[in-house]
Symmetry: C2
C-alpha cells in the first residue's frame, strides 16, 4: 500500500507555479492576481479562504480578499462581481461558497465572467469540460486527476466508481475519468443515494472516488484487493482532544481499508491540499491567458 | 416484451406541440420559427433536414432552410450564424452536422447564440444540463428520456449502462439518467472503446442505451432477462433490396435480444423519430421563451 501524499504533491505543484510566476515577472509580465469574495464568518469558509490567500503568497500571486457581512444584498454582491469582471488587474476570482440563504448562489456563479471563473463552476466551463475543450476545471476533481498523474496510476480501461453526484465533485469527476485522455479512459459508474447494491458496485472498482460526505462510509468489505482509493470526504466531527474542537473525517474507514489498497489518500493531507493547488493552477492559466484570450 | 413505438410517440408529441402552437397563434402570439443551415449535399444530412422541415409543418412552425455549397468558407457561414442570432423572427436554428472538413464545427457551434441553440450543443447548454438547470437538451438523449417517461419505465435506483461516450449521445445520456429527477436517479455506467468486460457490464444492466454505432454489437448473451433496451444505432448498411440501396442498422441484434427484454426500441422507428421530435420540443420552448428570455 502506498499513501498518496497530497500535501507533498501540492507543495511541489505550488513550487512549480512559483517558478513560472518568477519567470513571468522577470520577463516583465504581470503577476497573476486572484481575488476572493468572502461573505459572512462561517468557520469553514474562513479557513479555506485563509488557506487560499496563503497559497497565493507561496505561488507569488497577488491576492485580494474582499469581505462582506452576511446581511449583504444579492445586488451589492452582484455589483462587486461585475466590478471584478471589468477589472483588468484581476485575472481570476472566486466567491467562497456557501452563501447566505437569501442570496441565489447560481445567480452569482453565472454572473462571474467565465474567463475569470477559476473555480470552474460557470456553466460554460462545466460544458466545455464535458465536451473536452480547454476550460477551467473545478478544483477538487482536477486535483484528483493531478494525483493520479503524478503517482503514475494506470487509469485506461480501469473500472472507476464515483460515490456521489454533486455538481462540484461527483459529476465533473465522472466526466474527467471517462474522457479520452491520460489519466482518463476509465469505465465510470456513478453511485448516489438511490443506488441499489453500492457495496457490490464498489467491490468491482479498480478506483473508488468517495465523495458522499458520509464519514467512514467505505469499509474494508466494500473494497477489492489492490484498489486505488481517493477520499474526498472532509466532514467536521466534534473532537474535544483537538484545539479546534473538531477533526476532519473522510468517507473511507481508513484503518481497515488502507491495507487492501494499492494507493490511498489520507484525510487530511490527501485531496484537500490538492484542491487549493488546482485553484492556483487555474489562476496561473488565467494570468497567462492560456485558456481564454 | 413490449416494443417501444418511437414513431407513434413522436407523432403524439408533435400533435401536442401543434395544439400548443395553434393556441399561441390564436392568442395573437408569434408562430415559432426554426431555421436550418445545410451545407453541401450529404445524403444523410439531406434526409434529416428534409424530415425536420416536414416535422415543422406538422407542428405548425414556420421553417426556413438555408443552403450553402460545400465550398463555403467558415467566415461566410459564421456571418450567416450571426445574422440568424440577430434575427428576431428566428426563435431557434440548427447547423446540420457534419460540416465539410475545412470548417471548424466547434467554432460554428459556439458562435450560435445559446438562447437559439435548439440542438443543445453549445457549451452553456451542455453545462446547464449537467448542473440540472433549465436548458436546451440535445435531441437524442432528450427523446430517449421522453420515451422512458411515456412508457412509465421505472428508472429510480435502476442500473443503466450507456454504451458510447460521444458528446451528443453518450455523455448527455449519462448525465440525464443520473440526474435527481424522474426519469433519472439511475446508477449509471458509461462504457466505451477502452472498457474491459463490456459483456459483464451489460449483463448487470436494467437499462442499456446502445450508442456505439456498431451494428448488432449487443447480443442476447449480453442482456439480462427483463432489461430495457434503447438502441441509438443508425448505421447505413448496403442493401440491394431497398430502393435507397441501404437499410438502417441498430447497435442491437434485435431478433435475438428482443425476446429477453421488458421493453425494446426497434431500428428504424424507435429513437430516430424521437430525435426530431425533441428538436421540435426545443423549438416550441424557444418560441415560448420558456428557458431563456
Amino acid at each position: 500500500m502506498q499513501l498518496i501524499d497530497g500535501k507533498a504533491v501540492a507543495e511541489q505543484v505550488k513550487q512549480e507555479i512559483a517558478a513560472q510566476v518568477a519567470a513571468m515577472v522577470e520577463r516583465g509580465e504581470k503577476r497573476p492576481h486572484l481575488a476572493a469574495i468572502l461573505v459572512g464568518h462561517d468557520g469553514g469558509s474562513e479557513t479555506y479562504v485563509a488557506a487560499k490567500v496563503k497559497a497565493c503568497e507561496v505561488c507569488g500571486f497577488k491576492s485580494t480578499l474582499i469581505r462582506f457581512e452576511s446581511d449583504i444584498t444579492e445586488d451589492v454582491l452582484l455589483a462587486k462581481v461585475a466590478e471584478l469582471n471589468n477589472d483588468p488587474d484581476v485575472d481570476g476570482f472566486i466567491v467562497q461558497l456557501p452563501l447566505p440563504k437569501h442570496i441565489n448562489e447560481q445567480h452569482v456563479i453565472e454572473a462571474i465572467d467565465y474567463r475569470k471563473d477559476v473555480d470552474g463552476f460557470h456553466p460554460i466551463n462545466v460544458g466545455r469540460m464535458s465536451i473536452g475543450l480547454p476550460c477551467f476545471i473545478s478544483a477538487t476533481p482536477n486535483g484528483i486527476m493531478e494525483l493520479l498523474k503524478r503517482y503514475n496510476i494506470e487509469t485506461r480501461g480501469k473500472k472507476a466508481v464515483v460515490l456521489g453526484r454533486s455538481n462540484i465533485v461527483g459529476k465533473p469527476m465522472a466526466s474527467l475519468l471517462m474522457q479520452k485522455s491520460n489519466p482518463g479512459d476509465c469505465t465510470v459508474t456513478v453511485c448516489h443515494s438511490h443506488t441499489v447494491g453500492i457495496k457490490e458496485e464498489c467491490l468491482q472498482a479498480d478506483i473508488i472516488v468517495a465523495a458522499l460526505g458520509q464519514p467512514g462510509f467505505v469499509k474494508a468489505d466494500m473494497v477489492k484487493e489492490g484498489a486505488v482509493i481517493i477520499d474526498v470526504g472532509t466532514t467536521r466531527v466534534p473532537d474535544a482532544t483537538k484545539k479546534s474542537g473538531f477533526r476532519l473525517c473522510g468517507d473511507v474507514q481508513f484503518d481497515e481499508v488502507a491495507p487492501k489498497c494499492s494507493f490511498i489518500t489520507p484525510v487530511p493531507g490527501g485531496v484537500g491540499p490538492m484542491t487549493i493547488c488546482s485553484l492556483m493552477k487555474n489562476t496561473l492559466l488565467a494570468g497567462q491567458k492560456c485558456i481564454y484570450e
